[in-house]
């Protein structure tokens, strides 16, 4: 491939005794959306902050748009956009003033900064609310404005740290579409997410990160293939679970497992609906009627279970947002 637009080589970073990154190497091709997928505390935020010059790595090198992030941070900053986990917009400024300010900080002449702001406001469909103070905006509107702010400088590479965490499902899908539009314009996007469906929807390539290591990389379908595709999930009362596990053993090549969170019995469904039908027959044969039985897409949990042997714990650590709070208990 041509020279990657983002190239990280053996990046390490510790916070005190906590090893946030233990040697991550990564190459991202120009123009694609790259999703960095992992649970809280896996090191996603630390990596994205190093690549966007907000943090210095302890060791290793990284180049963004051909420029070394440690040797020339201002050079990198001139070519990137960054959106953090919390919409970093000024409440007391209007939407338009927020964007004009960022434009002026990029040294655009005043008229050009205003034109750029108008153009972006239109793209994020915020023109009507443009002259209201941001404190009157909804969470979704703030996120859109924050995204627009990160685009003001026409970045070659855009970094978005969990762009849809904490917003409602409708706004989430709007934001996905908006993000897709942005990247059509030739920008390379690196985003972090805890959600497989988000990475699946947006990303051309996905890197799975856990305990500060990149543990798998590929397209969404490659990763799902790793997991073994679809899953049949059976919800039965706890006392019936052992019987169900025993009964469905013959129709699956792998050991059925019990989902830690829901308590449902899960088996891989390589034959899709056919496996589902088999499972229904088996259950009928032993006289168990499940509350629910369904064929579903693999989730982040499945990917993690398969790759790491543990599930992606989705704890919420709202304000320790720097990806350093590796407070997971095993």
């Amino acid at each position: 491939m041509a020279e990657p637009i983002v190239a990280a080589d053996d990046i390490k970073k510790c916070f005190g005794k906590i090893e946030a990154l233990v040697g991550v190497s990564l190459e991202i091709e120009k123009g694609i959306i790259y999703g960095l997928l992992g649970p809280n505390g896996a090191g996603k935020t630390t990596l994205i902050r190093i690549l966007s010059t907000l943090l210095k790595p302890d060791s290793g090198t990284a180049r963004v748009a051909g420029i070394d992030v440690v040797a020339d941070p201002p050079g990198v900053r001139a070519r990137i956009g960054f959106g953090g986990q919390y919409a970093a917009v000024d409440e007391f400024l209007t939407g338009r003033e927020n964007l004009v300010m960022v434009g002026e900080l990029f040294n655009l002449p005043s008229g050009e900064a205003k034109r750029r702001a108008d153009e972006l406001l239109e793209r994020i469909t915020l023109t009507d609310a443009a002259d209201r103070q941001v404190k009157t905006y909804s969470g979704g509107m703030r996120r859109r404005l924050d995204l627009a702010a990160s685009l003001v400088g026409r970045p070659e590479v855009l970094f978005l740290d969990e762009p849809t965490t904490g917003i409602d499902p409708k706004s989430r899908i709007d934001l996905w579409d908006l993000i897709t539009d942005v990247v059509d314009a030739g920008t390379t996007l690196l985003l972090t997410t805890q959600y497989l469906d988000e990475a699946d929807y947006l990303a051309d390539r996905i890197g799975v990160i856990d305990y500060g290591r990149l543990i798998a990389e590929g397209t969404a379908s490659e990763l799902k293939a790793l997991v073994g595709g679809e899953v049949v999930e059976i919800a039965v009362p706890e006392e019936q679970r052992p019987a169900v596990v025993e009964a469905i053993q013959p129709i699956t090549t792998e050991e059925p497992h019990i989902d830690e969170r829901t308590g449902n019995v899960c088996i891989p469904a390589p034959k899709g609906v056919a496996t589902l039908v088999d499972a229904v027959r088996v259950l009928d044969g032993i006289g168990i009627e499940p509350h629910d039985i369904a064929l579903r897409e693999p989730t982040l949990d499945d990917v993690f279970l398969n790759l790491t042997g543990h599930i992606a714990e989705d704890e919420t650590v709202p304000r320790s947002r720097r990806g350093r709070g590796r407070s997971r208990q095993r």
Partner: protein, 273 residues
């Protein structure tokens, strides 16, 4: 890996002085707008010093006034120059508040990801706070006038006196910024700063002549910067006798800036969150 085969970029992109100034101007405007649009900020910044002025003048003025060593000198003439210094110093805590709030809201992350001068975010904040302090100080002079304060020198000296008090507040803003970046939390920053500031403001010549204090305290009070500033401002505005206080005040201001400007910029560069 084509990336590692290439010669790494050695030259660092340079941000010149002109750009630093432009960046700073944009951020000053942003912070001034914040002060104007959140009226409660300006209100509390104004009401508190006016309250101090009224309380001290009317509650303690009678008793303290008798200790003022200059004959024919009203207590308000003693108090007002001191209160100007006190207001400038208290006002510097707003710098730490604003900065820590920006840190917590992720605004500082955005600024740090932009190709702007490292000092611009800090200068933009301290200069905006200087402008706010100027507004408050002028208002204090007006309230003081209503209470009977009169300039005893000339207008030029009085303006110099005001400028000196404000400049001291500006220097203290950099100290406050440093504390803010160190503790990263608005409440903690404010508590830490008041703990630091209170002894300096009260064990000084701001409210009373230091001659009434016990010897050990008087040694501290006579030599610490708030007294030196208050005496210099009083000399410039009222008595006309500045003595050595003028240059000593400037020296303190310069010393605080020389230490805390580079220190704060360094802290800002190294914020890890």
């Amino acid at each position: 890996m084509t990336a590692t085969a290439e010669v790494p970029t050695k030259r660092r992109t340079h941000i010149g002085l002109a750009q630093s100034l432009r960046n700073t101007a944009v951020l000053v405007r942003r912070n001034v707008l914040r002060n104007v649009r959140l009226p409660q900020l300006l209100l509390f910044a104004t009401v508190q010093p006016v309250m101090f002025l009224l309380l001290f003048n009317f509650v303690f003025g009678g008793a303290i006034g008798m200790a003022v060593p200059v004959p024919g000198f009203d207590y308000i003439d003693w108090l007002l120059p001191g209160i100007l210094v006190q207001t400038a110093v208290f006002g510097s805590t707003a710098t730490a508040l604003g900065l820590t709030e920006d840190l917590q809201n992720g605004v500082i992350d955005r600024f740090r990801s932009l190709p702007i001068a490292r000092s611009a975010v800090l200068s933009g904040r301290t200069i905006a706070d200087l402008l706010r302090s100027t507004f408050v100080a002028v208002l204090m002079l007006f309230v003081g006038y209503l209470l009977g304060f009169r300039i005893g020198t000339d207008l030029g000296s009085a303006v110099l006196g005001l400028a000196l008090a404000l400049l001291f507040g500006f220097a203290m803003s950099w100290l406050a910024a440093s504390v803010g970046l160190a503790v990263k939390n608005p409440e903690a920053a404010q508590s830490a700063l008041f703990l630091l500031i209170f002894p300096f403001v009260f064990a000084s010549s701001v409210f009373v002549p230091t001659g009434t204090m016990p010897d050990w305290l008087q040694v501290f009070a006579d030599h610490q910067p708030v007294t030196i500033l208050a005496n210099a401002v009083r000399g410039l505005m009222v008595t006309g006798d500045v003595g050595s206080y003028g240059w000593r005040a400037l020296l303190w201001i310069a010393a605080i800036l020389v230490v805390f400007f580079p220190l704060t910029v360094r802290q800002y560069r190294r914020i890890v969150g």
